[in-house]
């Protein structure tokens, strides 16, 4: 699975990072960076939760 970020929606709050650190990271400029574009199988559940909890609906998973 790949993570797709809608940059027009992401505000860099970092809710995703708090759920799946190391996959998502808000940098010192307040921008959220993906540390990996494809989700390692063992972290899928965590990333799914991160996608669901983004308050801005900025995240999506695609095959």
């Amino acid at each position: 699975m790949r993570i797709i970020v809608d940059r027009t929606r992401c505000t860099g709050l970092g809710m995703c990072e708090s759920v799946a650190p190391g996959v998502f990271e808000v940098n010192d400029d307040g921008e959220m960076e993906l540390r990996t574009a494809t989700v390692p199988g063992e972290r899928l559940a965590e990333v799914e939760q991160a996608v669901a909890c983004c308050p801005n609906e900025a995240l999506r998973l695609a095959p």
Binding site: R9, G12, L13, G14, V26, D28, G30, P55, N56
Partner: protein, 422 residues
């Protein structure tokens, strides 16, 4: 699963419940019951941008067409539920019997009123969009404003009045505002924000009377002061909306009592959002939150669990909320552990990061105008970090940013800039 999912409460948690049900592939019928006439809308803006003179539109989440046709939801709005009969699996709403196979209770909370003020024009609580419209109109006419209760919502209203240059006094009965939410020391720090922006805060003063002929004219305080007022906004907390569940057999004790999967203990019935008091495994204690994030997440979890009880998943979370005052943002993650609170970046009076300890565990983080920080601490708390790990992390942040809390501000406005999906 097919069958009929009924969701009572057409707001954030209720909306997320119906959306999650469809996302998991539920093809049965869904009915969403709401007491208000309005389509589900977002509440946090009501005490923020919505109160500005420009007059922001109602922050509706989804258009009616999307709810009915794309999500296939039958809407019963303006139809308060009055009764639940779990034996027959029926909800009575707006005088109609609505049978269910699975039920999600998401009736939220309503604002506590000041006794004896009902019917007096110019006195408002702030929970609904109708309340917000009335308050905005009063502010538009330049009302001298008294806010009763220095909680988050009252504080935001005070900030909105000050943005317009209006005189505003905040009256708080307890000696320190927000001590329950952020602890006494940080409550004091927050109160100082008001004073710095010209809002008078009177702590330890109870309201003994609100007077006026048909319309409010003045507020009397226990210390003998009389405050002239054209608008009184009462922000003294919220009460879970469980009245309609009396006699249903559900356990009601400061909310609808649920286990860690949001199950009420009554077949097919789950609860979510501000109304739910569930066992939060993260802190191993029962909690009822009044926060946007958990209401949204619980709505989704409750629906999925209600539709597949045999695989019900627990809901475990580090609570998170934000509040916007005077152009700045207060954010809090976790719980206000009472063993210790320590400012680890910045300083009281300005931007800061403060951490809370319970035993040897890091349990909470408060930030004032340091938005890029709070979620990193939330992550640590989620992973059960010790106090010393929290302090070490803070030291590392200080080193990396040379104590510059500006690092990360800029693009990171957080959830207050949440765009409203059409």
């Amino acid at each position: 699963m097919t069958g009929h999912l009924v969701v009572v409460g057409a707001s954030l948690a209720g909306l997320r419940a119906v959306e999650a049900a469809r996302r998991t592939g539920f093809t049965g019928r869904i009915t969403l019951i709401g007491a208000e006439e309005h389509l589900p809308y977002d509440r946090p803006p009501l005490s923020k941008a919505f109160l500005d003179p420009a007059g922001a539109p109602v922050p509706t989440f989804r258009r009616e067409n999307v709810l009915q046709n794309e999500l296939g939801v039958r809407l019963l709005l303006g139809a308060p539920a009055t009764h639940l009969d779990p034996g027959r699996r029926v909800v009575v709403a707006g005088g109609r019997n609505v049978p269910y196979d699975a039920l999600v209770i998401a009736t939220g909370a309503y604002a506590r009123e000041l006794p004896g003020t009902r019917g007096l024009a110019g006195v408002h609580t702030l929970r609904t969009v109708d309340d917000a419209v009335a308050i905005r109109e009063a502010l538009d006419s330049g009302a001298r404003t008294v806010v009763v209760g220095a909680g988050f919502i009252g504080s935001e209203v005070a900030a909105a009045a000050r943005r317009r240059g209006l005189d505003v006094v905040v009256v708080e009965a307890s000696p320190t505002p927000l001590s329950g939410a952020v602890g006494e020391r940080m409550g004091e720090v927050c109160a100082a924000l008001h004073r710095r922006h010209g809002t008078e805060v009177r702590c330890g003063a109870g309201v003994t009377g609100i007077e006026g002929a048909g319309r409010v004219g003045r507020v009397l305080l226990s210390d003998g002061t009389t405050l002239p007022a054209d608008l009184v906004v009462v922000g003294i907390g919220a009460v879970p909306a469980t009245g309609w569940l009396q006699g249903s057999g559900l356990t009601l004790d400061g909310g609808v009592v649920c286990d860690e999967t949001l199950f009420t203990g009554v077949d097919g019935v789950y609860a979510a959002g501000d109304v739910a008091r569930w066992h939060n495994p993260m802190f191993d204690r029962p909690m009822r939150l009044e926060h946007w994030t958990s209401a949204a997440e619980q709505g989704a979890v409750a629906a999925r669990n209600a539709l597949a009880p045999e695989t019900a998943a627990p809901y475990s979370t580090v609570p998170y909320f934000w509040s916007d005052w005077y152009g700045g943002r207060i954010q809090f993650a976790g719980i206000a552990g009472e063993d210790e609170v320590r400012v680890v970046e910045g300083e009281a009076g300005g931007r800061l990061v403060a951490l809370y300890r319970e035993g040897d565990r890091l349990v909470g983080a408060l930030t004032v105008d340091a938005p890029a920080r709070v979620m990193k601490y939330r992550g640590l708390i989620t992973r059960g970090a010790s106090w010393s790990e929290g302090l070490a992390f803070a030291a590392e942040r200080r080193r990396r940013t040379s104590g510059d809390l500006d690092a990360g501000v800029g693009t990171d406005a957080g959830a207050g800039k949440r765009r409203m999906p059409a």
